[in-house]
Symmetry: C2
Subunit: 353 residues, 2 copies
DNA sequence: TTGTAGGCGTTATCAG
DNA sequence: CTGATAACGCCTACAA
């Protein structure tokens, strides 16, 4: 238990310890690092004094000397997204066990914010960077091209970057969701997604379009509404349609495909407010498979994202390059799957009635 | 756009820039910091060269010199808790606008992990620390006693620490939840909560006990089950009861009070699995008011936590001490409120039938 | 076994 | 206006 000496204001460093013990500061340094060259008795003397004075090593100085900060930086497009939150929590916890601290950054789907984040990460000398790019524009990525095996890209595939990847096939997810709608007879679906400048959002819509093509159903791009993920925003998209745009579409909408479960809850909220029933009046399919979606009213049909697997892949990459010194870069891809629950109505069966 | 010079491996520092431009490195430093003492023409020369070489200032060196790292550290008991996640996301985003980086740490309700976290935060020279203590044991807190106005305690009230507080009255929340149960005729409730060593968990139970006392209903401490917050764990508590302990209680359980909404979903999961109905067979009250709880089946009656207000208070404290240099410490307290939805059945009305 | 010197990349204080 | 120098706290050859 550190008892403060009289003038506790002064910073306690190896120098001040050295002065107290009456040795040189390099002896203190060695003792603190368990250098066997130091006599046991003096080491003990030093260790005790350091403890008593409440010494904490200065990582800045250490990092400056050693060119290693034991730091990994994570830059995500939107850290409030539950899947991303889950992933960085897992990474953070695991890396803490190895003595690494994790810095989290939020780009908010904004290239400039992303660039600022990359620059501060570089400036802070992070040992490893995990980035979920906000766009396919390579300008920001170029800042990171020096150390390809100290970088993993999350979410998208970037062919020209020879770095680690933890990819998610959003196109396939969108495809699966749209197929589920189409095979249940929903030909006129609304799509609520993130800004299309965001690569995964665009992939998502591509996948949907592909399904429409396969089913021979024309895909109306006006049906794609973009907004930032939140219950309120999802709600507002429906609200807008309800209040104003209702007549903008010749065919009534029977289904909604959303970029994530959160937006789907926005539709749920609208159902409560405007008194329509899911799935009787409108069908909904989400994306992510939030654990809570199994208990929603009705249980949400959604696209399951293997977030455990994704987190695991990130951790494997980190461990093998930071701890085991591997130099090859690896590419992981996560396949989304459809989880059928109760938010999609079968329109075809109805017709038979 | 930084074009790499031939040997791009070498670190680019103010020294290397100085060599390229043909000035002294202190001139470069001044130019980079917009010191008016530097001639415009040479400043421009230097700025261009720096840009061309892809210079990034080294924050470690900066911090070492200036004794300021533009860093705030957040140490929470469980960063996956949605309320805490929400709060640190808000703080992180706002502080990023001011050029501050936020480091997140997870103590996992463990005093030793908490201590390790505090030590690394100290070692990393964070400018400000936000801590949600895992226990009332002051040993770890003592490590932070040197700079009381650079510390805010989240969640609990620590009378003897003269630092900032953002407190939550969990006792009152527990009281409200229990009152709702009791006033609907539920005298035999299960409580599922975090380990009682965790201060807020203990407060929660205190509050429940107080309600029982006011209603003149004996409170059975055996009804308090502790586990870590997760849907699975909440489920398992019910499972255990169902499979093994069913006969351990003389009176059948009619209600469940949980420490957070996540645990409540565990009960929902059990309802699905064991085919009992909420609230017909068992009533449930959560805690936190997860935004999604409004759409659960049935909508979850819960205790609302003003997380916006809490985040705002944290941000205010940070801004006023870090940016405006205020030195007084402030104390904020958040009051939880009851949100009645559909997961509690009125047992008394039933009797009248 | 311990002490000395130099340097990691910056900034600040002086001289020139 | 620009340059040399010291210092921030630590580590590591090398010397004693």
């Amino acid at each position: 238990m550190p008892v403060m000496t009289s003038e506790s204001n002064k910073r306690v460093t190896i120098k001040s310890i050295a002065k107290e013990v009456g040795v040189s500061f390099s002896t203190v340094s060695k003792a603190l690092n368990n250098d066997p060259a130091i006599k046991k008795s003096t080491r003990l003397l030093i260790l005790n004094k350091a403890n008593e004075m409440g010494y904490t090593p200065n990582s800045l100085a250490k990092g400056l000397r050693s060119h290693s900060t034991k730091t990994v930086a994570i830059i995500f497009s939107d850290i409030e997204n539950p899947v991303l939150t889950y992933i960085f929590c897992k990474i953070l916890t695991k890396m803490a066990e190895h003595g690494y601290t994790t810095m989290i950054f939020d780009s908010q789907f904004n290239e400039n914010t992303e660039r600022a984040n990359i620059l501060t990460v570089l400036s802070r000398q992070a040992d490893f960077i995990i980035l979920e790019p906000t766009s396919m524009n390579p300008d920001n990525l170029r800042l990171l091209s020096k150390t390809p095996n100290r970088l993993t890209l999350q979410g998208i595939r970037y062919e020209t970057m020879n770095c680690h990847h933890v990819h998610v096939d959003y196109a396939h997810g969108g495809y699966l969701a749209a197929c589920e709608m189409l095979s249940n007879g929903h030909k006129n679906c609304l799509v609520i997604t993130e800004a299309l400048s965001f690569p995964t959002s665009r992939e998502f819509v591509f996948g949907i379009e592909r399904a429409y093509n396969e089913y021979g159903v024309p895909f109306n791009r006006d049906m794609v509404k973009t907004t930032h993920s939140s219950i309120t925003n999802g709600f507002q998209v429906i609200q807008q349609l309800w209040d104003h745009d209702k007549n903008a579409f010749s065919v009534p909408i029977t289904g909604v495909l959303t970029f994530d479960d959160i937006l789907a809850y926005g539709v749920y909220k609208a159902a409560l407010q405007y008194n329509f029933k899911i799935p009787d009046d409108i069908s909904v399919i989400g994306f992510d498979d939030n654990p809570i979606s199994a208990f929603s009213m009705p249980p949400l049909t959604t696209i399951h994202l293997p977030k455990d697997k994704m987190a695991e892949n990130h951790i494997n990459i980190l461990q093998s390059t930071l701890l085991s010194g591997r130099t090859e870069t690896c590419f992981f891809s996560a396949d989304p799957t459809l989880v059928v629950r109760g938010s999609v109505r079968n329109l075809l069966e109805k017709k038979r009635n």
